[in-house]
Amino acid sequence: MERSNLIRTMEGILGEPGVIHEREQLRTYECDGLMNYRVIPDLVVLPETAEQVQSIVKVCYEEGIPFVARGSGTGLSGGALPVESGLLIVMSRMRRIIEVDLENLRMVVEPGVINLWVTNEVAPEGYYYAPDPASQSVSSIGGNLAENSGGVHCLKYGFTTNHVMGAEIVLADGTMVNVGGGKAPDAPGYELLGAFVGSEGTLGIATKITLRLMRKPESVRTLLAAFEDTEEAGGAVSGIIGAGIIPAAIEMMDRLTLEAVEKTVKPGFPDANAVLIVELDGPEDEVASQFDKVEKICEDSKASEIRIAESDDQRALFWKGRKAAFGAMGSVANDYYVQDAVVPRTELGAVLKKIDNLSEEYGLRVANVFHAGDGNLHPLVLYDNDVEGEAKRAEDLAGAIVFACLDHGGSLTGEHGIGEDKKKYMPKMFTDEDMDTMQLLRCAFDPHHLCNPGKIFPTPRLCGERPGPFKMHPLQKAGLVEQF
C-alpha cells in the first residue's frame, strides 16, 4: 500500500488526530527509554478503543506491514523501538479504568493506564496493586505486561505475571482472544496468559487487562543500614534470608551511587561504602518481631549505622534516595549505561568483585545499585560520550558484566527485557534448540512475524507458513530472517 493510502486508511479508522505522519513529529517516537537505538517509524497511530486496535492490525495483516505497540516508552531494552517501514501503535490514549471489583480483588483496565493510577484508585479503601517498577508514575500497565516488570517489592510479592488475571489480546491477524479467564481462577486450557506476559510485545497487543488487587498490609517497617563495604552488606542480606525472613524489599547502593543521590535528591544518607534499605510488611506482631531480628543481623554484620524510618515521610525519603539512583548518575558522569542482570544470591559477592576488576580493566567507573534480595544487579557504567571510544568501551564493559553474571549461573535480564538491546547475547544463555522452540510459540501467535518483529531473538525465523496475503516479509526481503 502506498504511504499516502495507508495514512488515509488509518485516518479513516482513527480520524485525523489519531495519525501522526509528519517526519518531525514522528521523531518523538524514534526510541524508548533506551536511547542508543533509534528508528523513525513510517507512521504513528493512536487508537482509543480495542476495536480500533483490531482494525489497525487487520490492515497491517492484509498489507503485510509490521507493527510495534508502545505504552509510555519507558522501557530500557528497546522493546518499543519502531521498525522501519512499520507502524507504531501508541496505546497511551487507552487510559480508562473499566471496572473496579473490590469484592473479587480485581480491576479491569486499558493498557495505557499508568501503573500508579491502579493503586491510587483503590488506596482509600485499603487496597493496592503490588508490582511497583521504579517507573511506576509514568509507565503503563500494557508496557508492564509486555516486559513482565518487577520493582523493588517483587522479592516478596512477585512480578507483573503474578498479578495479572486475564487479558484481552489482539493477535497479529486482528483476531481478538481472551486469555487467563480474568474472573475465575484456573480457566481450562493452555496457560496462554503466562506465555503472553513478558513476551515483549511479540505475541500480540493487550487491549484490556485484569489485575489482581491486594489488601494493604497492617504494618510496614523500614530501616537503612550503612556498611564498610558491599561484602559486609551482602553478609547481612544472606543473614536475613537465611533466618527465613522474606522482606518486602532489600536494596543495596554502593558508594558511587550514594554520592550521586546525595548530590541530587539529598536524602541525607550516611557516609558509607554500602547502604542497605530493608522493608518488612505484614501483620503487626510478625513484622515487629522480624524487624528486631533484621536489626540484630545488621548489627552482627558490623553495620556502622542503622536508621529506622519513624514516619511515612522518612520512609518516603529512604525510597526517594533509592528510586532516584539512575537519574542521579548524571551528577557524577556525563553519560551512563544502565545494565540489568541477575545472579544467584549466593554468588553476589563473587560477581561484585568481578565487576570491580572489570571496571579497573576497562578504565571506567561502575556504580552498583541493586535488588539484593533476588540478586538482580543494576550496574551503571559511567562514561563520557565526548571522549572518543568511551561509549563503545562502556557498552563492552556492560556486556562483560552480563557475561560474568551468566558464568555464575545468572540471567541476561531480571526485569528490563531482551528487546533490541540484548538479543545478540541470547545465544550465550540459550542454545539454538532453546530459541527455536521459543519461536514455535511465536509462530502459533504470529506466523507472519508482524508483531514487534526483530526483537528478543538474534535470528528471527519465519514459520514455514505458505506466504500469507502478502508475498515477502519485509524482514525477509532485507535479508534479516531465514525461513524456519
Partner: protein, 422 residues
C-alpha cells in the same frame, strides 16, 4: 479401541531391555490399554523414544506417579506409556538461593522431605503423595496453600522439555527474577503432556513456616461460608489458606494461619474475631486438623465423579447453591471441599450416572456464563463418554490448536485428552 503392536527392538536399543515392559490393565488410560511402558533414564533417551514413536506413528502418554491419569478426556490413542520414574533426582538445592533443580520424575513429597531439612519448601501442596514434580506441573495441580503462594506457574522458574520431534529445549534458569526469552514453565503448566515432556524443573522456594494454627467456624448456610471467607480475605490477617468443608453434618470454613511463634497468636485472635459473626469458632486441635486440614478432597473412586468448579470469589455461595441444588433435584449425593477464598470447589458426586451428567451439564452452563468453569476431574470411563471433561474452550481455541500444531503436529503426545479435542 485398538492399540498398535509396537516393534520393541527400536526401543530396546534406546533404553535397554530392562526398562521396557508390556503394559497391563493398571496402565490403562480411561480403559485404553497401551502396548508398552518405557522408562527412559535421561532427557536424551526421552528424546530418542519420542523420535522413534513419532516415526512409527505411535501415541505416547507421559506419566509421572500415575496419580492423575484419569484427568482429561479419554485419549484417541495410547500406545506407549512414557514413564519418568527413573528420572527422579534432586539435581541441585542451594538453600541460600532458595532454589531447587529437580528431574521431573522425582516425587514432590520426596523433594519436599529434602528441602524440609533446610527449613524450605516448594510452596505447593497438591493432595496426591505419589505425584511427581512433572505430573504436578503438567496437571497444574495445587492445594489449599495456593491462596498465599499461588500455583505452579508462579513458582516454577525454569524448565527443560523434550518435544515430540525429540528437540530438547530449556527456558528460564535458576534465578527467581528472570525475563530472558519466552517462559515455557508457565506454558507447560496444566498442558497435560500435550506439548512436550517435562524432564527437568527449577522452582523458587519459600521458608517453612515456623508455627501454624487452624481456626474454623461452623457455618449454617452458603452465605455464611462466603461471608466467613470474605471477612478473612479482606482483613489484614494474611491467611495461608481458607478452606471450605461441606459434607453431611460437617459444614465449616477453616483458616490456616502461619507465622513465626511471635506472630501466630495475634493472627489466631484476629481470626476468631473476624469469624465470630458467622457461627461457632474454634481453633482446631491436631486430631481435627488431620481430618479438616488441607489435604482431603473428593478424588473419585467407587463410582464417584469428582468435579472442579471455579468461580469469582464473591460467588462462592451461588456456586455451592448451583451444584448442590442441581444435585438435590436429581437425587445425586454431593459432598464439597474447596478453597473458599479463591472460590474453587471440588464436588464429589455419587448416584445415577445419567443424573450426575445432568448435574454437571447444568452447573457448567451457568458457571461458564458467569466467567467460571466446571471441569470433570475423575470419573468412570462410561461417564466420560457422556460428558466432556473440560467444557467450552473460550475464544482462544484456534490459537490453542495452532500452538499444539507447532509443538506436536503429528499428534504424538496424549492425543485427544486436552481441551477442544487437542
Amino acid at each position: 479401541m485398538e492399540t498398535k503392536k509396537v516393534d520393541t527392538h527400536g526401543l530396546q536399543n534406546i533404553v535397554g531391555d530392562e526398562n521396557i515392559r508390556e503394559a497391563t490393565e493398571d496402565d490403562a488410560i480411561d480403559g485404553i490399554r497401551p502396548s508398552l511402558v518405557v522408562e527412559p533414564g535421561s532427557a536424551e533417551e526421552t528424546s530418542e523414544v519420542l523420535k522413534f514413536a513419532r516415526s512409527e506413528g505411535l501415541a505416547v502418554s507421559p506419566r509421572g506417579g500415575g496419580t492423575k491419569m484419569g484427568w482429561g478426556n479419554p485419549p484417541r490413542a495410547a500406545d506407549i506409556v512414557l514413564s519418568l520414574s527413573r528420572m527422579n533426582e534432586v539435581i541441585e538445592h542451594v538453600p541460600g538461593d532458595q532454589v531447587v533443580r529437580v528431574r521431573a520424575g522425582a516425587k514432590l513429597s520426596y523433594v519436599q522431605q529434602t528441602l524440609f531439612r533446610e527449613n524450605q519448601m516448594i510452596a505447593l501442596d497438591p493432595p496426591y503423595p505419589d505425584a511427581t514434580v512433572g505430573g504436578v506441573i503438567a496437571s497444574n495441580d495445587s492445594g489449599p496453600r495456593r491462596y498465599k503462594y499461588n500455583t505452579v506457574r508462579d513458582l516454577i522458574i525454569g524448565t527443560t522439555v523434550v518435544l515430540a520431534d525429540g528437540t530438547i529445549a530449556k527456558s528460564g534458569g535458576k534465578v527467581v527474577k528472570n525475563v530472558a526469552g519466552y517462559d515455557f514453565g508457565k506454558l507447560f503448566a496444566g498442558s497435560l503432556g500435550t506439548l512436550g515432556v517435562i524432564v527437568e524443573a527449577n522452582f523458587r522456594l519459600h521458608p517453612l513456616p515456623e508455627s501454624a494454627r487452624t481456626v474454623a467456624v461452623e457455618v449454617g448456610s452458603y452465605e455464611a461460608a462466603q461471608g466467613a471467607a470474605h471477612a478473612v480475605v479482606h482483613s489484614q490477617v494474611e491467611p495461608t489458606a481458607v478452606e471450605l468443608h461441606w459434607d453431611g453434618d460437617k459444614k465449616l470454613v477453616s483458616v490456616l494461619l502461619e507465622s513465626i511463634p511471635e506472630g501466630v497468636e495475634a493472627k489466631e485472635e484476629l481470626a476468631h474475631v473476624l469469624l465470630k459473626p458467622f457461627g461457632e469458632v474454634r481453633t482446631l486441635n491436631d486430631d481435627e486438623y488431620d481430618d479438616l486440614g488441607p489435604v482431603p478432597r473428593p478424588s473419585g473412586g467407587n463410582g464417584e465423579v469428582a468435579v472442579k468448579l471455579s468461580a469469582p470469589p464473591a460467588e462462592l455461595a451461588s456456586t455451592m447453591e448451583i451444584v448442590l441444588g442441581a444435585a438435590e433435584r436429581r437425587g445425586v449425593k454431593a459432598r464439597l471441599r474447596g478453597h473458599a477464598a479463591t472460590a474453587i470447589v471440588f464436588a464429589g458426586l455419587s448416584g445415577g450416572e445419567g443424573s450426575i451428567a445432568e448435574v454437571v451439564e447444568e452447573a457448567r452452563e451457568i458457571m461458564v456464563r458467569r466467567g467460571g468453569s466446571v471441569v470433570v476431574r475423575e470419573a468412570p470411563e462410561s461417564f466420560k463418554t457422556k460428558v466432556d471433561a473440560w467444557g467450552p474452550a473460550g475464544d482462544h481455541l484456534a490459537l490453542s490448536r495452532a500452538l499444539k500444531d507447532k509443538f506436536d503436529a503429528a499428534g504424538t503426545l496424549n492425543p485427544g485428552r486436552f481441551i477442544g479435542g487437542i
